[in-house]
Symmetry: C2
Subunit: 284 residues, 2 copies
């Protein structure tokens, strides 16, 4: 496994691999790898000739009051995990090459970035699309892997790739959960015991919603109000948003219709830790 810090070097490696017709699988991460990341890496290793994992905590996607500085980092463990997974290259670029002085370009997807996390985190998604666009141009993958936990992010990146005709496929893999159902996230590291206990309520409220839909409840306002009631059991939980939206367009759905697919997504603060989770439900 090779560790690459230099953008030009990474591009040269990618060019060489492409000339040899090798398919590059790419897993962009912010490090502090958990089983969610590892499931993406494992899939890439299985499907592609070469797997590149990037580790870069992208300042551009954090708001001024967000957790960029204290975002958990542990490069040593990350590298060990990558090595165990038979990753070929770990790309750890330097800030000064990614955002050199005078950096001025932004890639932005409109529309679907304005609701859900985009509403609570202005500028977040243009930070994501800008860095991911750059990473795709550097690593030149044939397939890039993302996790369904960041449901909106996956849709936004798919949209960018399609709209800009970027020459790669995006694959979105299922959420990996702890035994009790909590979605894996690097931010779970912030949760101490009392918060950790209540964090499970995000998933329980999603399961509740799925159950209500199976029982033919069709008014989304009613479903959401039951989810809220469940979350209110925690004295530490503050709801940022709960939405039931069309799974492709992210447009709000008021009344569930047969043969449609909805995304039920929520962001909830447990104490000061903002967690997100979601499920996709097919309505019968």
């Amino acid at each position: 496994m090779k560790i690459i810090h230099n953008v030009i070097q990474m591009q040269a490696i990618a060019d060489q691999l492409k000339k040899k017709s090798k398919t590059i699988g790419f897993v962009p991460t912010m490090g502090y790898l958990h089983n969610g990341h590892l499931s993406l890496i494992a899939r890439s290793v299985k499907e592609c000739d070469i797997t590149v994992v990037s580790i870069y905590v992208n300042p551009l996607q954090f708001g001024p009051k967000e957790d960029f500085k204290k975002y958990p980092r542990d490069i040593k463990t990350d590298l060990k995990l990558c090595r165990q997974q038979n990753v070929d290259y770990v790309f750890i670029p330097k800030d000064e090459q990614i955002y050199p002085v005078g950096y001025m370009t932004e890639v932005r997807v409109k529309g679907i970035t304005e609701s859900l996390c985009g509403k609570s985190r202005p500028g977040h998604f243009s930070g994501v699309t800008t860095i991911v666009n750059k990473l795709f141009n550097i690593v030149k993958p044939g397939i890039a892997y993302f996790g369904q936990k960041d449901a909106q992010q996956s849709l936004v990146i798919k949209k960018m790739v399609k709209d800009l005709h970027m020459p790669l496929k995006i694959k979105v893999l299922p959420i990996i959960r702890e035994l009790d159902g909590l979605a894996m996230s690097s931010r779970n590291a912030y949760l101490d015991a009392k918060y950790r206990r209540d964090a499970i309520l995000l998933y329980l409220s999603l399961k509740k919603a799925k159950h209500l839909i199976a029982k033919k409840l069709r008014k989304t306002a009613k479903i959401i109000s039951q989810m809220k009631r469940l979350l209110s059991q925690s004295e530490f939980a503050t709801i940022d948003y709960i939405v039931i939206v069309d799974a492709d367009s992210l447009n709000e759905v008021k009344q569930l219709k047969a043969k449609t697919k909805v995304l039920i997504a929520l962001a909830v603060y447990i104490g000061k830790v903002r967690l997100i989770d979601n499920i996709i439900v097919k309505v019968d």
Copy 2:
């Protein structure tokens, strides 16, 4: 010479050529080719294995009150000229593939797009960077050629390529002029005889400025006021802007300094036709 209308097909051709290690030279145009375009094409044919010319009048870079609909078009002559120049592929994409329903992504360079033409034409440069980004992803050139007449555009595109780590070189070639000095432009087709006569004043005012700088005039306000006086000879001329700026940053220069390079650029309406021109002057 092959004419390609389909995005997917163009990408497949580019992939094949790259696998054979062919360098693709690319000249993106809005058609109605003149000698300026032809100089770019000739350079590409000389320097690259394969030359691709695109012809696409990009609606996104025209303002709502601008000349998108009446922009001159003559595909038949364009194709004849390309054939004469030994172009390999002419790419003429369809609107519905470039901007399909639900299109939402924008590539924007900040800072240097806010002055000069960016000020008079809000949204123009994000239209340019978005289409050029897409075209680069489709045609996959090793070198793309642009004309110095659109001085700001060239800088903006260079910035985008650098900032997004796009894997190609940008070459900017000199302005090609009519015998009397008028910069070649597809929009010159709009000029009838009385306007055509006065259109030469743009270049004359630039030559005047260069002369004044050679004569050691250093206050740019004085230079600009002499340019304005010259342009005021035409009853049809309305100045949009005249600027003297640093040739790289486009920052305004008030007092010329030795060993610097400035861009003197102007946009002037002759009647209703908006023309632009510029020169780069090295200050001794």
